[in-house]
Amino acid sequence: MDNRKLRILLRHRAAMAGLTLVVFLAVMAGIIGILSPHDPVTWRPGEQNQPPSGSHWLGTDNSGRDILTRIFFGARVSLLIGVACVAFSGAIGLPLGAAAGYLGGATDAAVSRFLDILLSFPGILLAIAIAAPLGAGLRTVILSVGIVGVPQFARQVRASVLVLREQEFVTASRALGAGRFRTLYREILPNALGPIIVVATLGVGSSILTAAGLSFIGLGVEAGTAEWGAMLHDGYVARELRKTLALYSGLAISLAVLGFNLFGDGLRDALDPRSRA
């Protein structure tokens, strides 16, 4: 990213607000163990469902655990899930899209049809269909949500590569004797990085949202894990007792997703001046 683009990004108020949100949650996720005297996992039978107080700012849940502490520990789990899902989507989507765009012909046709078929499923439904037989668990979440995100990556990479491969510097690289793989890897992909970063940033947000949805219907992380979707579900089931749990875990999901969406939109504006409204 050159200086001009960086300046646009730094001046983009919405993007900076998004980045602040994300950084705040990430930092809190990192240091919550030091800040909070409470344990996010251990059951405390005598301290269940307490209202907010000096020692428990948001009260406790039905296992006597401090809600605020669990929310920030939840940031750890949810942010990690978001990033892991995107890494998974990218690991499959990038090579698929690059191959389709660069090789064209039958490869492109096959990859594109495959992506069309993945896109025939509404996202959360595909995630449910993948997760249901596998059973709840962190690996299930990353696998199912990750697969749902593959088409976004692959399509973006394919589109960028299609444009870039016709550029003169690519012809120059080939003329200088570079092989097809080297040209793709050294010349084309680095130039396609901008849109890929945008897709990845927005992807973290939507992955957190889909993963929370899976957890909410009981196909997410193992029961008891401090994860936002699961906490929201716990709070929802006992609506009367634990309004705060449901309210704040949902708020946490919304803020995190909003943060990634704002920052992603800002990145897109900075990297691609044409898309700016």
Binding site: S120, I124, A129
Partner: protein, 336 residues
């Protein structure tokens, strides 16, 4: 045009086949023995063996796939295990109209609200109304639908019904399966009113994401069109600002908006699953949730398959409509 339509229609069976193949593979990806997964590990050996025989799990996987396809072609999606072997297709036939009703209501709210917000932001670009609508739109795509549902419940639980589709004491003959339509056919005003009240909160929750998406795309499509020469001409001719926006600009901004509707329908079907679980709406979502809890894989597979088929058909309809509106698409020129 004809060639394009024919090509799309010929490709349709291939897509439907691929979707059904994926569903078959996923539902058989249960770790371990599929019969045990259905009846549970505590079931006696005889039960497990009986289920394995009855469901054909003891036969080669290719034979199983063949049976699945033949049954599917007859509209047979298998049987529920825990509910006295009721046909999955019968269960889905009961639930699906309720989900379509919910998704339809949400779509109506999303289109009306989204167009209004989008038009207002485009016309008053850079003013406070633009900032407010775009903030609402951005929040709309960031908030988990089930959380929003919960907020709506907390806010309106004293005014509106928060669970189910219809009060149980209001009995309706199911003629079409659509509650509102059935109530109208039965000339039952009380039931219609009650069903409508039940619909408000879930439909409002479900409509947020498509509403936000519609608002954003309407704004950007309108902004693009409003810069063009013919808008300036229309203004110069003395057309009123409202007429310029609604008649001249909106028509030409319609293409991206129409395309988005197909995409939004997928969000609605997926989102309905989550929304229904919050509001105990007796549709496909609650059905999937129950099936997940009861490890009824044929029910999950059947429900996912039916919803995906619907999504494919709606997208096809939208694409064909799109080709009808925009001649460039017919010849594949917009293919990236």
């Amino acid at each position: 045009m004809t060639a394009y339509v024919v090509r799309r229609l010929l490709f349709l069976p291939v897509v439907l086949w691929a979707v059904s193949f994926i569903v078959f593979v996923l539902m058989r990806s249960v770790p371990g023995d599929p019969a045990t997964a259905i009846v549970g590990e505590k079931a006696p050996l005889e039960v497990r063996q009986r289920v394995r025989r009855e469901r054909g799990f003891d036969r080669p996987i290719l034979v199983q796939y063949g049976i699945y396809v033949v049954k599917l072609l007859h509209g047979d999606l298998g049987e529920s295990f825990k509910h006295s072997s009721e046909k999955v297709s019968d269960q889905i036939a009961r639930k699906l109209p309720h989900t379509i009703e919910l998704a339809g209501a949400a779509m109506a709210i999303a289109l009306v609200g989204g167009l209004m917000l989008g038009i207002l932001s485009a016309v008053y670009k850079g003013r406070w109304i633009d900032y407010v609508s775009m903030t609402v739109a951005l929040a709309g795509v960031s908030v988990p639908i089930f959380w929003l549902g919960l907020l709506l419940i907390l806010a309106f639980e004293s005014v509106l019904p928060i669970s189910g589709n219809l009060n149980p004491e209001l009995i309706l003959d199911s003629r079409t399966g659509f509650i509102l339509v059935d109530a109208l056919l039965a000339r039952n005003g009380a039931a219609f009113w009650n069903a409508l009240q039940h619909l408000v909160l879930p439909a409002a929750a479900l409509s947020t994401i498509p509403l936000a998406m519609t608002a954003r795309i309407t704004r950007s499509a309108l902004l693009e069109v409003l810069e063009s020469d013919y808008i300036r001409t229309a203004r110069a001719k003395g057309a009123s600002p409202a007429r310029v926006v609604l008649r001249h600009a909106l028509r030409n901004a319609a293409i991206p908006i129409v395309t988005l509707v197909g995409l939004e329908f997928g969000y609605l079907l997926g989102g309905a699953v989550l929304t229904e679980t919050v509001f105990d709406w007796d549709g496909m979502g609650t059905y999937i949730l129950t099936s997940v809890r009861e490890t009824e894989y044929e029910s999950i597979g059947g429900a996912v398959l039916v919803l995906a088929f619907m999504f494919v058909l709606v997208n096809l309809a939208v694409d064909l409509l799109y080709a009808f509106i925009d001649p460039r698409v017919r010849y594949g020129q917009s293919e990236a």
